[in-house]
Point group: C2
Chain length 239, copies 2
């Protein structure tokens, strides 16, 4: 059985170029480790001087440049880019570009210390729970978690300010807007709820006010006082 991996440590530059080019052409995930500089120009612009980094090129056009710290790549290119590899002045150059927006990432390796091409077979999808969608399902299955008498009427109900997570009415027939968050919320969520309540109020020409309820595990102090100022409510609930 042939290996799914083609790798070289401290390769000659032409060998490195070959592994990368062959890998990219065959739809492999290609990684390059070595001393490099990185130039980026697009939505923003950046430069990164010489240092050791790990670069990953995916067959979907993604590029990721990782240092030894942090979850986030120091530089990257999103899916959909086209990469080219070449040798210029004894350096291995990876050039990744895209349109809309016009963006370009160029990684120049003075020295390649490792290169690898991985044939990836991954049939599985991630199964994730504990999302906002789970919270929504919980409430729709048991509306009394919000308060006795609450009745959901629609999800994703459109308003001039955007779609409301859950729209319904309370035991007295008043319109209720729910904004759901899977985690502790700050002022931004209050602003969002306030927008929806105001928009719906205008839209319905309601005589009685539209109630707005923020549903989340907890709120910060500032968010709580913003809720109070706007006469909005809070219900503690987890996904």
């Amino acid at each position: 059985m042939p290996s799914n991996v083609r790798a070289r440590t401290d390769p000659a530059i032409e060998t490195a170029r070959s592994v990368v080019e062959t890998g990219l052409d065959s739809g492999a995930v290609v990684t390059i480790f070595g001393e490099c500089t990185v130039e980026y120009d697009g939505r923003a612009a950046s430069t990164l001087g010489p240092g050791d980094r790990h670069v990953m090129c995916k067959p979907d056009g993604t590029v990721l440049v990782h240092t030894d710290e942090g979850h986030q790549p120091v530089n990257w290119q999103p899916p959909g880019c086209t990469h080219e590899v070449s040798i210029t002045d004894d350096a291995l150059v990876l050039d990744s570009q895209r349109d809309n927006p016009d963006e370009r990432l160029v990684v120049t390796f003075d020295a390649v210390e490792h290169v690898a091409a991985f044939d990836v077979t991954d049939p599985e999808e991630l199964s994730l729970s504990g999302t906002e969608e789970d919270l929504r399902q919980r409430i729709l299955a048991e509306p009394s978690l919000i308060e006795p008498g609450f009745t959901p009427l629609a999800t994703e109900r459109e308003t001039p300010a955007g779609a409301v997570d859950i729209y319904g009415e309370d035991g007295d027939g008043r319109a209720v807007v729910l904004e759901l968050k899977r985690r502790r919320v700050g002022p931004d969520a209050v602003g969002q709820l306030a927008r929806y309540v105001e928009a719906l109020q205008r839209d319905l020409h309601a005589e009685t006010g539209v109630r707005g309820i923020l549903v989340a595990p907890s709120v910060t102090d500032r968010a709580r006082s913003l809720l109070a100022e706007r006469e909005l409510e809070f219900v503690a609930l987890e996904p």
Copy 2:
């Protein structure tokens, strides 16, 4: 000169364990490629069935699990975690945990096709331009970009709703709040500006209203109408 890289293709499982453990202990960036399953439990919870993935462990405690698609890792652990590697039932198991919040990621490799440890030396910092901070500097250097007579008085001015990007006054001495965005803005930015304007209005007990100006390259239609409803303004400006 000894190589900065220790790598093995299709290693025996004990060899793989040794390279990973030695690498983690020495502060190297360690990568493992092979067929694995992934279990995560923490802020949310997830499972991922068998497939080929590329796993990177950084010396700061970061773990990244990448498939062949997308910018984002399919699973990960943020910096600050402690990882352990072991062999259980002929599988290589990577166990990464942290407290606050309690989170655990377990990657189980049925087969390791490649393993590598990279000694990283990276003295450079990223130099980035085109950020919101650049836009702020541009306005402070030339306030008339907002409008003739505008005078900045403070940045990060605190209000009960949060800190205002730039606070100042117009040619008539009216208070002005600027909210800056480096890119095209939607309804969320309008909500943010509205919160600040309302909070400052209350705070100042101003007789004349506080003006709110959104400064960004452009706005969506919905954001524009929300601005109009709230009598907020827009100035087109890029970073």
